[in-house]
């Protein structure tokens, strides 16, 4: 009678297998695009995947929006950049220090910010992002202002200097895969469930003993730390950063990635990041007009595919199959 329920270890095995397959594909990819221009783009896909996952943990799992995540990304990049240039620190030391600083900062501002809900939270985080952006522009004695900060050293492991696209690809994707695994583990755990519970019904979660407020702040800080890490990696692979990368528009682009890929899905974040990073490459002729595509995609996805590509495409596929079957029967 009762259908046997899948045990936890079965589920875990299936997920691990999927992840192993994905990692293998990622690691083999350079074989196909050896040295091509696309390698450089794929490095950005990795960085954007990390950032989209960071925002997705907050938005897709905990249900809390942020329109200021580019700010944390920029903070990580600038802290890393300044520590390794002005203070000649080792990049491997600068990255965790930057992450720690950003994490603490996010934790502290998280308390007042996450008391807000919905539209007000959106506006507050947007304001935060813009304040960060203004700081990057105005503290030019540290950041170089609008003209940017250059001469940031590459990362180095023993005698390997990460200065080519292929080497950077492995570096960035190594970290990205780690972030993906980390986030998937989190999502399928006690804490991840509590987060999703807060998303669905904050009051019911609280009644069951979930400290919703603290959990939201924790995940906000974690999300900021991942952004900071991505920012540091960005700074050390590009060796040059300037404020325009970290503005309001990029926060919106991140939001678009998460929504297009699918809220609450880690692979969805990869899909969204990949699509939005590769799209402009294919729309080369339309240089500045990709902004219209973003806007259109956001509107269309929310209206017709609110689950994102990761759920929408299989659903669409099932619908088509069903329709075929029905017309076959008739």
């Amino acid at each position: 009678m009762a259908k046997p329920i899948r045990s936890g270890s079965d589920l875990m095995k299936r997920n691990l297998l999927l992840f192993a397959g994905f990692s293998l594909l990622v690691m083999l990819a350079p074989q196909f695009f050896r040295g091509g221009y696309l390698m450089n783009v794929l490095v950005f896909v990795g960085i954007n995947t990390m950032l989209a996952i960071a925002l997705n943990l907050l938005l897709g799992y905990a249900g809390q929006i942020s329109l200021g995540h580019a700010g944390f990304f920029g903070l990580g990049a600038y802290l890393s950049g300044i520590m390794t240039t002005t203070f000649s620190m080792n990049p491997w030391e600068a990255m965790p220090v930057a992450a720690l600083v950003v994490g603490c900062l996010a934790y502290l501002i998280g308390f007042p910010v996450l008391k807000l809900k919905g539209h007000y939270l959106a506006m507050a985080t947007l304001g935060l992002g813009i304040i960060f952006f203004i700081i990057f522009n105005e503290t030019y004695e540290w950041t170089g202002g609008p003209s940017g900060l250059s001469g940031i050293p590459n990362l180095q492991l023993g005698s390997i200097v990460f200065d080519t696209d292929v080497k950077n690809y492995y570096l960035i994707w190594g970290v990205t895969l780690a972030v993906m695994l980390f986030s998937m583990n989190l999502a399928q755990s006690r804490v991840g469930r509590a987060l999703r519970a807060v998303h669905d019904s904050e009051i019911a979660a609280q009644v069951l003993g979930v400290n919703a407020r603290h959990l939201k702040v924790q995940i906000f800080a974690l999300s900021a730390i991942i952004c900071s890490l991505a920012g540091s990696l960005y700074a050390h692979t590009m060796t040059f950063i300037s404020p325009t990368t970290f503005g309001f528009n990029f926060s919106i682009e991140l939001l678009t990635m998460v929504v297009i890929g699918g809220l609450g899905s880690i692979y969805g974040s990869f899909l969204g990041a990949a699509l939005l990073t590769l799209l402009p490459e294919f729309l080369r002729g339309a240089n500045d007009y990709d902004i219209i595509v973003y806007g259109g995609l956001l509107v269309i996805m929310v209206m017709y595919m609110p689950g994102g590509l990761v759920r929408g495409i299989p659903a669409l596929f099932r619908k088509i199959v069903k329709r075929e079957a029905e017309s076959g029967n008739a």
Partner: protein
Amino acid sequence: MLELSGITQIFGGVTALDAVSFSIAKGDITGVIGPNGAGKTTLFNIISGIYKQTAGTVLLEGKNVSGFSPERLARHAMVRTFQNIELFGGMTVQENVMVGMHTKSSSGLLACALRMPWSSAEERRIREGAVKWLEFTGILDLAEHAAGSLPFGKGRLLEIARALAALPRLILMDEPAAGLNSQETVALAQLIKRIRDLGITVVLVEHDMELVMDICDRIVVLNLGRKLAEGTPREIQECPEVIAAYLGDDD
């Protein structure tokens, strides 16, 4: 088990509850009844920490818990269910119950994300615990379904299973029979008795008089924000004030 004294709640000049006092014995099923607008739900919201009362104290197992947040009360082994069932619709039935075990587990964010051995062991324990409560409420066959797609009656059972997973010593149920058909209500009555047999104290707000008279050991009647009567089901049925209040309400 639970002692209320002088609970008063005033909403912008309107007195919703006026010095309500009563106590609930360990292991009893207590029903709180009263006509619409009697203040039952307000009282529940105060006990479960959702509202903060204007005056009065709540003692839980002798400890003053007035003004405690809901999550803190959960750690003191008190949980509640909602009239309009509040499920986590985006999660599976089993995952819902697993959230119920939040206070009975402790792995932190990093331990979970890094899949530390102790957190994996705990995860197994949570999963097995959830199965146990799904079995207890008879919805194990739905474990893999999305909670959001359950019919109302099953959703009610899931909400109870989820609350039980928190291993409460006191469970508050806000109109558990609301929206159930007569068959489901009979099954619910049995379930509530089995919950009591586990040694869990049950307090329920309910409109279904048949159910209340059938399962409750004691009944508290509220009317217009005041306590009208208190006693065994038989005493309440014969109490003239209660009959008057209910007939008066029936206009």
